[in-house]
Symmetry: C2
Subunit: 187 residues, 2 copies
């Protein structure tokens, strides 16, 4: 099964402030930019390419706190698995939308694969770093918002080894966000 990442960071690589806030992301960039036929910077096309999602507990809690209406829900009806060793049930407003999982990541991938799922969207800094250490991430799209925070929660945590990226692509959008796409070449 292919596992990929599609995530936004600040230009200095943070996914949230130290307090977990992402307001800076929503106010970043030039709001008057003409985004042409790509207003979502490829997110819709990416979502159409995945058939399941795996995220960490913190990532789920951030989504829960946004209290999204059905119209705002960005993940369609794909199967969403939330990794947590402590939480057995999801928050009230995510019931029926996500499934909690507390076992081994490699077992989870085998289970999803046996269900016929082919491409997982991996989300959340801690989860992405774990997947990289398991050599499970195949592709990463990082969208850098044009802002320096100077501190915060970094996208990438400690890795067991240096990881080589390949097949780099990049786009600077009219709103000054820069998107990079990489393959991953584990040694």
């Amino acid at each position: 099964m292919k596992c990929s990442v599609y995530i936004a960071t600040s230009t200095d690589g943070y996914i949230a402030t130290t307090e977990g806030e992402v307001d800076w992301l929503h106010s970043a960039g030039n709001p008057d930019a003409d985004m042409g036929d790509n207003p979502d910077m490829g997110f819709g096309a990416y979502m159409a390419s995945v058939d399941c999602m795996i995220m960490g507990r913190k990532c789920m809690e951030m989504i829960s706190s946004m209290n999204l209406s059905p119209e705002q829900w960005p993940y369609g009806d794909i199967h969403i698995v939330v990794l947590s060793n402590t939480l057995k049930t999801p928050p009230e407003n995510l019931k029926g939308k996500v499934e909690m999982y507390s076992g081994e990541i490699t077992d989870l991938i085998a289970q999803l694969k046996s269900k016929g799922l082919k491409h997982a969207y991996i989300d959340g800094g801690f989860t992405i770093t774990s997947f990289l250490n398991f050599k499970l991430i195949d592709e990463m799209t990082i969208t850098r918002a044009p802002v320096l925070l100077g501190a915060g929660i970094p996208l990438f945590g400690k890795l067991n080894n240096h990881i080589k990226l390949v097949e780099a692509e990049s786009t600077a959008f009219e709103n000054d966000f820069v998107q990079e796409k990489y393959g991953v070449n584990y040694l």
Copy 2:
């Protein structure tokens, strides 16, 4: 006087390993890539645009440790100022090449400007962060090597405020390095 940055980082934003090593940078990317008419990813053109350089002590010590021959020296004959409150004389192999400075950054900029200098290359993570906090950096070119280190010395340190970047440009080179260029819009 214009102050700008031209620096290489890992994709996760480090300028060196925790031990200060940059070997990963020299081995990153596809060595067989056809770089066409831009083998140095714009460094020569950038150097031709600056007339002086300001770096921190650590940055100088790293350059000193490389023991560059005159043919390898990448900075031409531009005026180089090294910021240090502790070191009064440069290492033996940089004598005549750099000038030590221990005063205020704003005074230094005024001095360089009064000498008719117009565009300073600001180098070194700590120095760049200080200049950003003084609202002195006008433009940044960040060249990301296609490697994740997972830990190290970050390019950007703690900032007094969030800093808005503008006029984003990006290029993915054939060797899988991604270069981003930004203006800076201080509030």
